[in-house]
Amino acid sequence: MITLKAENIIKNYFKKSALSGVSIQLEQGKIVGLLGPNGSGKTTFLKLATGLVRPTSGSITVCDREIGYRSKELVALLPDSEFLYDWMTIKEARDTYAAFFADFDMKRFVELLDFMKLSEDMKVKSLSKGMKEKLALALTLSRDARLIVLDEPLNGVDPVAREQILGAIVRCFNQESTILITSHLINEVESILDEAYFLKEGKIVLHGLTDVLRSERSKSLDELYREVFAC
């Protein structure tokens, strides 16, 4: 079952071209990495998949649905910046998610929150960056979405928290959904990826199953990445 189908996506802004002909297909039951440096178009692609931005040309569908409010029901996004209101308590953030997303699993959230060592009464304002990231992840992963999109989930987070985050991602993996991750910290995420796309300056330059990529070239993804993106 195809979760995401993007064909020849082109996205232009006034002054620059963010994506120039990207085709990506994501299947159920996979954890896929979208790898590339800043400005390569990763975040733009994620926004396209989640309906926050529209393509200049090309088509993109999520589980055969057009991008729009209907596809948003199926897609859970973890953005790479602070997107919760300061005045919210964790409980209020949870209630907001539960109210708007029918697929929110309360029990899973409580478990994840516990796993991340956070408590309901904390205020978003008082959380450190790592804790905010973990909270955002808990909220996102508690949704039973078909496509889970994590934009740089390990950024700005200390190594211990990173372990927790990777553990939580693996824990919430299931055969009905797809998890799409972008990250710079290739060597930390590569062991959980089934498949990887390398995005350079708006184009896919390399794509394949991680095991195949690694064994064909006898390199880790991290080394491969350096090779592909070395100027």
Binding site: V170, R171, F173, S191, I192, L193, D211, S215, S220, D222
Partner: protein
């Protein structure tokens, strides 16, 4: 567990499990942790862990029991066999690396003996 860069991850996990069997940490009849548990502990993709299971089953190291889990094969045979194959593998690797340094048979044996001697002394000194 730190993964070697270029070898397939699932094989590396398979090796680790075999090593545990040889060392006696895993015994015949023990139930392997679930796919999910292994995935979480090693921080690897559950699909990868599936392949670990498949490989272990293929080699006869483990066998599945429907609805209950996957178990390490029982019997001395297995441990003995694994012992010799793993030992061979490791030695092969070591000798290969020493040869790359240009060492000959004499030097290889001398080095092995001196390291073993060291270990023995460490133990007696406690």
């Amino acid at each position: 567990m730190k993964f070697n860069d270029s070898a397939p991850i699932y094989l590396q996990i398979v090796e680790k499990i075999k090593a545990d069997i040889v060392a006696g940490k895993l015994k015949g009849g023990d139930k392997l942790p679930s796919v999910r548990e292994i995935a979480e502990n090693f921080k690897v993709n559950p699909n990868t862990v599936q392949r670990v299971y498949m490989e272990l089953e293929r080699e006869g190291v483990a066998y599945p029991q429907r609805g209950i889990g996957t178990f390490i094969a029982e019997g001395e045979e297995l441990v003995k066999k694994l012992r010799s194959t793993q030992a061979y593998k490791y030695t092969r690797r070591y000798v290969g690396e020493m040869k790359e340094l240009g060492m000959g048979k004499e030097e290889v044996i001398k080095n092995v003996e001196s390291v073993l001697e060291e270990d023995k002394n460490d133990h007696t000194e406690g």
